[in-house]
């Protein structure tokens, strides 16, 4: 039981962390609430499914393809539909909702609403105290940690990371310092969708692939971002594991828990917000005038 909760919490938390950090990045830099973020995660899963089953390619190769193709799709969508209306926040918001719905419908038309699955990359498991731990789960966890480490390196040690951080801090001053802000926003979009596609790739073998799979993590991902503080990567990381473990605890300990896991996680978010309106690690800026 303890190991069930531990494993399930770690996996949930890791995937949420990947998604939430991507979502938080693009929000911080470009102030885009990208509802379509998890739709890219769904696209990556489908791409992997298609490559492995319909084209019979090696799963690892498929994942590489997905990680390159999906960010490209993201960039095209950003250029076509989001960039021209950047000034109108409400319009951007529903453009991303419409984009997500569009992706879902395209997948529904091509693959129908059936559930699909992708094979494990590594087979086998070992057991501790009667709990089966699949190597795939460990692999997922490892990939997420490596990705997050690489992301931290990129954000803190490279020029691109510096550009992203400074644009997030103050767009106008970054512009004055000679940064091409819209280019930075493009790069951030690419990085953010790349993170979503990694999440899709590592999750695809563990979950069922279906056109509506973007809806479930969407709400929790937003809850994580709000809980941790908008635009704070550390906050998203901590928030993701808090909500991931909450979900696991509720599912295993409370009857009817599967229905209540979302609501309990969201209640925690609301309580934190009542105590700290800017989230756990968020910085409350003076209101912009």
């Amino acid at each position: 039981m303890i190991f069930d909760i531990l494993i399930s919490g770690l996996i949930n938390g890791s995937v949420l962390a990947l998604l939430a950090i991507g979502f938080s990045l693009i929000f911080g830099v470009a102030h885009i609430v990208n509802i379509a973020h998890t739709a890219f995660y769904m696209l990556a899963s489908y791409l992997i499914y298609v490559c492995t089953y319909r084209f019979g390619l090696n799963p690892v190769l498929c994942m590489a393809i997905a990680m390159i193709t999906v960010p490209l799709i993201g960039l095209v969508a950003y250029k076509l539909f989001i960039e021209p209306i950047r000034e109108h926040e409400a319009a951007v918001l529903i453009a991303t909702i419409a984009l997500a719905m569009g992706f879902q419908e395209v997948m529904l038309i091509i693959f129908s609403g059936d559930y699909h699955s992708v094979p494990y990359l590594v087979k086998g498991y070992f057991s501790i105290m009667g709990t089966k731990i699949f190597y795939q789960q460990l692999l997922t966890f490892g990939v997420v940690l490596i990705t997050l480490g690489a992301l931290w390196f990129m954000m803190m040690k490279t020029r691109l990371g510096l550009a992203i951080r400074s644009t997030a801090q103050d767009r106008e001053v970054a512009n004055l310092m000679g940064m091409d802000v819209s280019k930075v926003a493009m790069m951030t979009m690419a990085v953010s969708v790349f993170l979503a596609s990694i999440a899709g790739a590592v999750v695809a073998p563990l979950m069922v692939v279906s056109p509506s799979m973007w809806m479930t993590p969407l709400i929790l991902m937003m809850a994580v971002v709000v809980l941790g503080g908008m635009g704070s990567l550390k906050g998203s990381f901590v928030g993701a594991y808090i909500l991931g473990f909450t979900e696991a605890l509720v599912v295993f300990l409370i009857p009817m828990g599967a229905f209540l896991k979302g609501p309990v996680a969201l209640l925690i978010m609301i309580f934190v917000l009542i105590l700290r309106p800017e989230g756990l690690y968020g910085v409350s800026f003076e209101e912009e005038r």
Partner: protein, 346 residues
């Protein structure tokens, strides 16, 4: 005698000089007349059903505009009010035998209370935080509803409610007249002093507070008013469909409301109403290819926004009308001088 002739003539002059002079007012008049006389032309239940559902969603989207458009409190969980209204009306009707005339207003009252419950914790939040927090409330309620199936019917919902009226045409008249009246009330609210304060809160809350206005009270008022109208929409929906199911609380419903309102143009009240009627009827054409229906919906929205990010109806209105630079009165675009102050347009 001449006095009687004057009073007889006055409405006609007002009608001619105030309504026929502006295309947007003519359009509103035509829309109202169309709605009221539609069942005389045909009583096809399918067409009536489309217009009834459109009216219900029009109330819902306009109430979202009242809260999120005018007051600027981005609400992503508008389905909460809709669902609370629907479920309360349904449970009161089914278990206590209240007729629709009583259960719908009580559902609206329940939605007002829901508005208070959501509004109080949200007072300290603004912008995107507020949007994402409000998104959580209907999902929490949805989880509770599914977890206690004895009372709420779980995933199947509460079904077998009494009808609004005995016939489809009766339903149509109840819903459409109620829609027209409620939208008119909402429009009047946004035009009143309260509406101006709502507008000011959206523009600059601190400045409003500096002016000695209790913004907390007005923000809660906005939540309650919006909840009230959305609750009525929920009750009408429950009694018309004769079922209150979990679909009323789903994220999709919340998103749909936002899409309708932003597509039609926020901060207008007439925008969301118009866009619901346009999108509903346009989507019915796509029933020939059901699988492409939602894709078409998403496509229409994406491409419309590219060209008119302010929303469809304000864009159209700006095309056919111009605002006089001197006295701010609207004129038809073909005029060369202002109809009130005779200022010349360049």
């Amino acid at each position: 005698m001449s006095l009687i002739a004057y009073y007889l003539k006055k409405p006609y002059t007002v009608f001619k000089n105030e309504i026929l002079i502006l295309p947007s007012r003519v359009a509103v008049l035509a829309f109202v007349l169309f709605l009221l006389f539609f069942p005389v032309v045909t009583d096809n239940p399918y067409l009536l059903r489309i217009l009834i559902l459109a009216s219900i969603y029009a109330i819902l989207s306009a109430s979202w505009d009242l809260l999120s458009g005018f007051t600027g409190q981005m609400n992503f969980g508008h389905a909460l009010f809709f669902g609370v209204g629907a479920y309360t009306a349904a449970l009161l009707n089914l278990h206590l035998g209240f007729p629709p005339a009583a259960s719908i207003p009580l559902g609206a009252v329940a939605a007002v209370i829901a508005g208070l419950i959501v509004g109080i914790p949200c007072l300290r939040l603004r912008g995107t935080y507020l949007a994402l927090t409000t998104l959580a409330f209907p999902i929490i309620l949805l989880g509770v509803v599914i977890a206690v199936p004895d009372l709420t019917g779980g995933e199947l919902g509460v079904s077998g409610l009494s009808r609004l009226t005995s016939s489809r045409t009766g339903d149509y008249y109840v819903v459409t007249t109620l829609m027209l009246v409620l939208v008119f009330i909402m429009w009047k609210i946004t035009d009143s002093n309260t509406g101006i304060i709502f507008h000011a809160i959206r523009e600059d809350e601190i400045a409003v507070r500096t002016a000695g206005i209790n913004t907390i009270r007005y923000k809660l008022l906005a939540f309650c008013l919006s909840g009230f109208f959305a609750g009525i929409a929920g009750g009408l929906y429950a009694h018309f469909m004769r079922i209150a199911g979990p679909s009323t609380l789903e994220v999709n419903t919340s998103f749909l409301v936002v899409i309708y309102a932003v597509f039609g143009g926020v901060v207008t009240i007439y925008g969301p109403v118009g866009s619901v009627f346009i999108l509903f009827t346009v989507l019915e054409f796509f029933n020939f290819w059901p699988e492409f229906r939602m894709l078409a919906f998403a496509g229409i929205i994406l491409f419309t926004l590219l060209f008119m990010p302010e929303g469809l109806l304000p864009w159209l209105r700006d095309k056919v009308e111009t605002k006089c630079p001197r006295c701010k009165v609207r004129n038809i675009a073909t005029r060369n001088t202002c109809r009130v102050c005779m200022a010349e347009f360049k």
